[in-house]
Amino acid sequence: MKARTLCAAGLIMSLSLVGCSDDKGHGTVTMLVYDSFPTKDTPLNEALADFTRDTGIKVRLLTAGDAGTMVTKAVLTSGNPEGDVMWGVDNTLLSAATDGNIFESEPVQVDFGDVCVNYDIAWFAEHELAPPVTLDDLIDPKYADLLVVENPAASSPGLAFMLATIARYGDPAWEQYWADLRANGVEVAESWDIAYYERFSGAAGSEGDRPLVVSYGSSPPAEVIFAVPPRSDAPTGVSEGTCFRQQEFAGVLRGSDHPSEAAQLVEFLTSERFQRELPLTLFVYPVNEDVVLPDVFTQFAVVPADPFTVDPAAIAANREEWQDRWNEIVLR
């Protein structure tokens, strides 16, 4: 109250606005985040509060839309950004971000995870069929009419899975793979939640009838953690040979008003204190090797030994064309 009065008095005297803003003062760093990043009440937010206590730098979280929208906006406002730090550019968007010259310096990796085919354990047990392991398995007639994927033009796991097939078979041989997948009865959903909850049979409470879905390597532990009543085993498993590695990056934005404080925050984002909260909040893996993973993660999540990847520059250069071709092959 008193500080505000003083500030107001100072404002009248000097007719200057500097330093009087409540939430954008000197000690505040604004971090742009995607929709699913929690803005309060989670251990991740407590970790950020610890950062504020230790450094005196306040962190304001600014939700900018989904990851794609966030990057589009940052490219448009390059040089006069909405915030000081950006959290969560993934490797499929990284090139677009760096080509748009949005970062002050090279962004650092903050977490990783995998997009993989998940299977319904009970369904495969009931039908006495071994769940698929590799991408090749999915075009086997044994697994006809079982898989649901997301449209790569509309969904980020859908895009990741398409990239996995491109990494595995190469360009343009991946097109034949998708023609085969289509012949084998693949179903396309527009979004992850429709695929996972409406079409996939393994998600608890789902009325879907397809026992295979493109989801995350960390979906099984989420099924355990959020089960009602609590359960000790996962209803779903992961086909380890179908995974695409997603990496997320954070960095100081070019044109930030507080570059040194922003750099301190980015450094904190990779610290053990912050990183240890990632698995159970965002369901991704920490990059900091000092972090001890929670039990439910070591038990039920899968980190494939050799996930597929595609060079970010190649993704940026070809994504649109690949999506168009995918559209021709799978949907027309």
């Binding site: 527009e190 939640d193 409470g205």
Partner: protein
């Protein structure tokens, strides 16, 4: 100084003409709002991103013709069906008083206000599997979502339709069908056009329903614009397509505004909604009402029931844990449903206030202006037909430097809602204003009122009635708005639709059930707002029109 000239002009002006300053000063606020919040941002974005090559590049996109064709035909079919089907509840609700009438009105209106993410998921469960991903599913959903527009706009006109006209026709021997065709339909024409225009706009630019139900094989232009801007980072391509969409819609709206203007009829006489009299009538009304209620509430019930299903059992767990920050030791969802409820309510009040002030003034100006009214009318409809992505990105780069650095300001969200709601307010008021008989003003003038005073006493007073209904509509639109809100950057502000989407985006049964619990809360709040507005308005005699 200008004596003789003044006298000459006075001689030329009809004695009942309104003062020249009146219309421009009433139109000032809506015109400034439109210019600053719509045209300026859009122009800024276009000049910033579009290069000479972008237009050709965007227009040569593979499959664009197919996208345009699908967008157009599904919108035409959806609009026609919505009008035909919505006519029935509009009639029953406007003409009859019966037990549960308000509830039925609420049931019919609510789907329109709820975010498609939520109702769409329930809808998907109801439709047969072979319909998934088809144009049929899109059209059925469009009819379901937009029936409210017909009930609202046509119904608003129908309640002021003088019953003595139809009674006279019946007395003269016309069959009910003849009355409908030759008396009622011509009289309702302005509101039918208004409803058709709005439904067409909505279905032409449909995003959520198309994505959820039409599947990937059926993108509309809007879906393509959003994909270009947010997934591919192709902002210039998105901007070009956005302009293309605007041109197409602009043509339709211009044509519809012209048609409406010519078709307006002055109405006077007594109008009444009443209880069904004969037994046949009673049965007819009840059967229709129950049928409408069942069909319209099924998806909503499916949605609500999902909040009580966990572990294949019926349970209240999702509801009980809704406010908990910690669902398991060390695990939090970071979603505060109660806070999001209050945020949504606060925004709804702000958005409704802005929309009734701006929309009310705009409607008065449009109805009173002789020449330029249509321009303002079309102008205010444009934001509805423009992809929220383009306007959102435009705002972001237009107001980004002090003293106009508005980025991430909380009020941008309700302002965005108001931009969507204003055309509805205008649509709801215009047919009523245009139906004011000129002789009422003449009578006021004869009784000694100045033209401006007569205008105040007749036009402004007449607009107060539907204004109350329109404010409820605006509040409800704000409660369910999702698209524009997700595009605006926001600091710690979460409306209910956003909280729901966040819960839906997680794996695990509990967040899923909580999402549906929250959606059920949103449904109830929206229904309460609608019923509240209807009740308040009816207490004042606004809807039953008994004072008419």
């Amino acid at each position: 100084m200008a004596g003789p000239v003044e006298r000459d002009r006075a001689a030329l002006t009809p004695p009942n003409a309104l003062p020249r300053w009146l219309v421009p000063s009433v139109a000032l606020v809506p015109a400034i709002a439109l210019a600053g919040l719509y045209f300026l941002p859009l122009a800024t974005l276009l000049t910033r991103v579009i290069q000479p090559s972008s237009i050709g590049d965007a227009l040569r996109l593979p499959g664009l013709g197919g996208v345009l064709w699908f967008t157009l035909w599904q919108a035409l079919v959806s609009t026609t069906l919505t009008l035909a089907i919505g006519f029935v509840p509009a009639y029953v609700l406007a003409r009859y008083r019966f037990v549960g009438r308000r509830a039925l009105l609420a049931i019919v209106t609510v789907p329109f206000m709820l975010p498609t993410v939520v109702v769409g998921a329930a809808f998907l469960a109801l439709l047969p599997a072979e319909w998934h991903g088809t144009a049929r599913a899109v059209i059925v959903a469009h009819v379901f979502f937009n029936i409210a527009v017909v009930v609202r706009l046509v119904g608003a006109m129908w309640v002021v339709l003088p019953t003595d006209l139809t009674a006279a026709a019946r007395t003269l021997g016309a069959s009910p069908a003849q009355v409908l065709l030759h008396v009622v339909l011509p009289l309702l024409r302005p509101s039918l056009w208004a409803a058709a225009t709005v439904v067409f706009l909505f279905t032409f630019t449909s995003f959520g329903a198309v994505r959820l139900l039409g599947g990937s094989a059926h993108p509309t232009l809007e879906v393509e614009i959003v994909r270009r801007a947010t997934q591919l980072g192709d902002v210039d391509g998105a901007a070009v397509l956005s302009i293309l969409q605007l041109l197409a819609l602009g043509a339709v709206v211009w044509w519809s505004a012209r048609t409406q203007r010519g078709g307006a009829l002055a109405l006077s006489g007594s109008s009444e909604s009443r209880a069904a009299r004969s037994r046949r009538e009673r049965v007819g009304v009840s059967v229709t009402a129950v049928f409408i209620a069942v069909v319209m509430s099924l998806p909503l019930l499916v949605m609500a029931s999902r909040s009580f299903r966990l572990g294949n059992r019926w349970t209240l767990t999702a509801w009980r844990t809704l406010g908990d920050t910690e669902v398991r030791p060390g695990v939090s969802l970071g979603v505060d449903p109660i806070a999001s409820l209050f945020t949504s309510l606060r925004f709804a009040v702000v958005a409704a206030s802005i929309s009734i002030v701006v929309g009310g003034l705009a409607a008065l100006a449009i109805a009173t202006a002789r020449r330029y009214g249509a321009l303002l009318d079309i102008g205010l409809m444009l934001p509805l037909g423009t992809s929220a992505v383009t306007v959102g990105l435009g705002l972001l780069i237009t107001f980004d430097t002090a003293p106009f650095d508005w980025r991430a300001r909380w009020w941008l969200v309700p302002l965005g809602h108001a931009l969507v709601a204003i055309p509805f307010v205008v649509r709801a008021l215009l047919p009523v204003l245009r139906a004011i008989p000129a002789d009422q003003r003449a009578a006021a003038a004869t009784l000694g009122a100045s033209p401006a005073r007569a205008w105040m006493a007749i036009d402004v007073r007449r607009v107060l009635r539907p204004l109350i209904a329109a404010s409820g509509l605006a509040a409800a639109i704000s409660l369910g708005e999702f698209g524009a809100t997700t595009l605006l950057s926001r600091a710690g502000i979460e409306t209910m639709p956003i909280a729901i989407a966040r819960l839906l985006g997680r794996a695990g049964e509990l967040p899923r059930a909580q999402a549906f619990a929250l959606a059920t809360m949103l449904l109830v709040v929206t229904a309460v707002v609608i019923v509240g507005v209807i009740s308040a308005a009816e207490r004042e005699g606004f809807f039953s029109a008994r004072r008419s």
